[in-house]
């Protein structure tokens, strides 16, 4: 295939290097690795052969799936002519590989195959041989022994190469064949000419530029008319007997030619030729490797698979297609286009991908951070809003509590003080009467003084009575807001407001709310105050239990709406039950005794009632019943006049039952 001068001792060096290398691990293995001996006909360190060797090893190793050892011999018959028939070389290799069991021999090239069959038969009598890169007619697969198979290329690829040229240049009317003066060159030129003849196209004029020295060839090439097809047959030797490596000159020939040039050798691709039907070494390495594996995996006694014919592989140089303005669409189907000028995308794909990746990552990160931030902010806002509402409710309830407390205090004081003030006044008046009746025991002056004392007591008493009467009137005159109130919401808010308190006491607050509960009419804040008060009391009572529970429930019952707050505490003692709603009556050490009176006062102003009872299963239940909004709205206006109130004693008795 290719020949290059120099490097005379390469075989020796390789042989020495291989001889010195004894795989230490191999000897110790019970199941030894598969051993493959590759025989290269030509020097193995040219780029195409190196690639071939690498792919062959890779394919066999990968596809076999078990350890493989590769041994390699470079025969270099192109330079060491005459060694092909040398029995000393054969003896040497026989000696060398006798100690190893070689499982398969892969000769690369027709003469390597011939050497393997002829010379290595003694030591490797039945070892299978799988040949690669051999061509008809030099190698005849049918004439090989039974242990031989491989991949065989057609004699010439010039026919399909010319076909490709005709497709690309339908207007061409001349074929120029360029060849050297050597025997191999002549064979190639003849092959091109016979291939051209098989085209059967009489309009094509054939011209041959053969045997010219390079310095004469190039000017002649420049005179070729443009509508020509130039075929590079081969050029291993010029007319003066100088040997060439065609790869070194094909570029200058292609450069000088004013028409597209075609060839059948893959290695010339990239040197200025348009393309042709070629033998792809990389492709062949893989296919040969697979064939080797198939041979190694044969069952005992199974015959070798038949030799495979290498198919057409069209290859074209994209840059040359551009240069000659040849349409890519005219290429034979399946043509591989090489050296395609990469698009920006292809050229910078990694950079673009990386950049996009980084940008995308950053965007994603930014996006997620923003989303997270927004989510957190929203959650924070929501939490703040909830907290604000809870705080507001607390504040309102606290304010309402204070207002109600002041009102209740005033009402209680004015109510309770009326009795003693009345007594003081009556006694003072009676005293004045006695003194006035006195006959002689007091002096006139003493009588006068006593009279003044009693009348001043009466006067101050009247003053005090007026004050508390005015206070009472003031407290009672407060307007009650009239708006629909959802008691379910009131209960939920209470549970929420007291959630923390309940947690610190390890108490559980449960809600059982009637979804069909109609609204009531009144003051949401005051009603909130009522439920909160009852729940706080229930929590206090339940804390005596090891498992404190408070249940808040609502139910629509006939023409009434009921809120029940139940605890699992000790329940209400009888004496406690009788005084529950009295002012200043309390069972709590810190209590004012005004909570339940305030609850009662608020509920009565909402035309409702509050009752307390003991649950059959323990604990206390406080029930608040109110008319629903439609009923309540028909009732009297919110402002309660003293006349509006029921007699207080019966009311209390009713509540206490």
């Amino acid at each position: 295939m290719s020949r290059s001068p120099g490097r005379a001792f390469i075989l020796t060096t390789l042989v020495l290097a291989l001889g010195a290398w004894v795989p230490p691990a191999a000897a110790q293995r019970t199941t030894r690795p598969t051993r493959v001996l590759v025989l290269y006909q030509q020097q193995a360190e040219t780029q195409p052969m190196l690639e071939f060797a690498q792919r062959l090893r890779l394919t066999i190793t990968k596809e076999l799936g078990s350890p493989v050892e590769f041994y390699q011999e470079t025969l270099d018959f192109d330079r060491f002519t005459g060694l092909e028939q040398s029995s000393p070389l054969g003896n040497y290799l026989n000696d060398k590989y006798r100690r190893f069991g070689i499982d398969v021999v892969v000769p690369v090239g027709g003469r390597a195959l011939k050497f393997a069959v002829d010379q290595l038969g003694q030591v490797l009598p039945n070892v299978p041989i799988v040949f690669a890169l051999c061509a008809l007619p030099q190698t005849d697969p049918a004439a090989q022994p039974a242990n031989v198979t491989g991949r065989i290329a057609p004699a010439s690829r010039f026919a399909p190469t010319l076909e490709m040229a005709r497709r690309l240049q339908p207007n061409a009317h001349r074929v120029v064949v360029v060849g050297g003066a050597g025997p191999a060159d002549s064979t190639s030129v003849d092959a091109v000419l016979s291939a051209a003849a098989t085209l059967g196209d009489d309009s094509l004029e054939l011209a041959v530029l053969q045997g010219l020295p390079l310095d004469e060839l190039l000017p002649r090439l420049r005179q070729i008319p443009p509508r020509s097809i130039v075929v590079f047959a081969n050029y291993r030797m010029d007319g003066r007997g100088h040997a060439f490596e065609p790869l070194d000159i094909v570029a200058s020939i292609a450069h000088a030619t004013p028409a597209p040039m075609y060839t059948q050798l893959a290695s010339y691709l990239g040197e200025g030729v348009v393309g042709g039907s070629v033998l792809r070494f990389d492709d062949e390495a893989v296919r040969t490797g697979r064939l080797v594996v198939r041979v190694l995996r044969r069952r005992p006694g199974e015959r070798m698979p038949p030799a495979e014919l290498i198919g057409n592989t069209f290859v074209a140089d994209w840059r040359q297609l551009r240069r000659w303005e040849l349409s890519e669409a005219r290429l034979p189907p399946g043509t591989e286009v090489l050296f395609r000028d990469p698009t920006l995308w292809q050229r910078y794909r990694m950079v673009v991908l990386l950049t996009l990746g980084v940008m995308g990552g950053e965007l994603l990160l930014i996006g997620s951070l923003l989303a997270e931030r927004r989510r957190r902010k929203r959650a924070q806002l929501l939490a703040e809003e909830q907290q604000r509402r809870v705080d507001e409710t607390r504040r309102q309830v606290a304010h309402m509590g204070r207002v109600a407390l002041v009102g209740e205090l005033a009402a209680t004081m004015s109510h309770d003080l009326r009795q003693p003030l009345a007594a003081i006044r009556m006694n003072a008046e009676a005293g004045a009467k006695f003194v006035a009746r006195d006959t002689g025991q007091f002096s006139d002056e003493e009588r006068e003084i006593c009279g003044e004392i009693f009348s001043e007591i009466v006067a101050d008493d009247v003053l005090a009575s007026d004050i508390i009467t005015r206070v009472r009137a003031l407290v009672r005159r407060e307007a009650l807001p009239q708006q629909p109130v959802d008691l379910n919401e009131v209960c939920r808010t209470s549970a929420r407001v007291l959630h923390h308190d309940a947690q610190t006491r390890h108490a559980e607050i449960t809600l059982a709310l009637d979804p069909r509960l109609p609204p009531v009419t009144g003051d949401p804040v005051q009603l909130q105050q009522v439920v909160l008060n009852l729940v706080v009391n229930a929590l206090d009572a339940a804390s005596a239990s090891p498992n404190p529970r408070v249940a808040i429930s609502t139910v629509a019952r006939g023409k009434e709406v009921e809120v029940a707050v139940r605890d699992n505490g000790p329940g209400l003692a009888e004496d406690v039950q009788n005084h529950l709603f009295e002012s200043f009556f309390t069972t709590k050490p810190q209590g004012l005794g005004l909570g339940l009176p305030i609850v009662q006062s608020i509920i009565e102003r909402h035309h409702g009632r509050v009752r307390a009872e003991n649950a059959a299963e323990g604990g206390a239940i406080f029930r608040v019943t109110m008319p629903p909004a439609a009923w309540g709205s028909r009732e009297e206006p919110s402002e309660l006049s003293p006349k509006k109130a029921e007699p207080e004693t019966p009311a209390v008795n009713e509540i206490l039952r």
């Binding site: 009795q419 003693p420 007594a423 008046e429 006695f434 007699p647 207080e648 004693t649």
Partner: protein, 134 residues
């Protein structure tokens, strides 16, 4: 201020010595004040701190008049009047007294009230109501 029940007037009078007035009020100073005023007028009076205490009394004769506080611990004055009318007829004339106008107003029209006085009241107003019953 005083109220008179004209229907009760003109009933046959018993001997003044047998006549006595019951004063039922949980407020001690009110009780003693009223007793003193009665004594000054030569009227016998007995004090009771609650309705239950009144019901327990062992006097041989019914009082000629009961000065009855409406608001009492336990049984209220109003309930006491109902109970006396039902279980110990005939019901003696009742003078309801209270510091609370609304309580007095609510017992109107039952025919049981000989009179109603809102505390504090003039002693003369009470005596005006009591004296005709002696």
């Amino acid at each position: 201020m005083g109220y008179r029940n004209e229907a009760l007037e003109g009933q046959p009078r018993a001997h003044v010595k047998d006549r006595w007035v019951a004063i039922v009020d949980d407020h001690r100073s009110v009780r003693s004040c009223l007793t003193r005023v009665m004594r000054l007028e030569g009227i016998r009076a007995a004090e009771f701190a609650s309705a239950e205490e009144y019901l327990d009394h062992s006097a041989p004769t019914a009082p000629c008049c009961v000065v009855l506080d409406v608001q009492l611990p336990g049984m209220s004055g109003y309930e006491l009047a109902e109970l006396l009318e039902r279980e110990r007829p005939p019901l003696p004339p009742i003078i309801f007294i209270s510091a609370h106008e609304d309580l007095l107003a609510s017992i109107d029209g039952e025919g049981r009230a000989h009179g109603r006085l809102r505390k504090p009241f003039e002693m003369d107003a009470l005596l005006e109501l009591v004296k005709p019953l002696l």
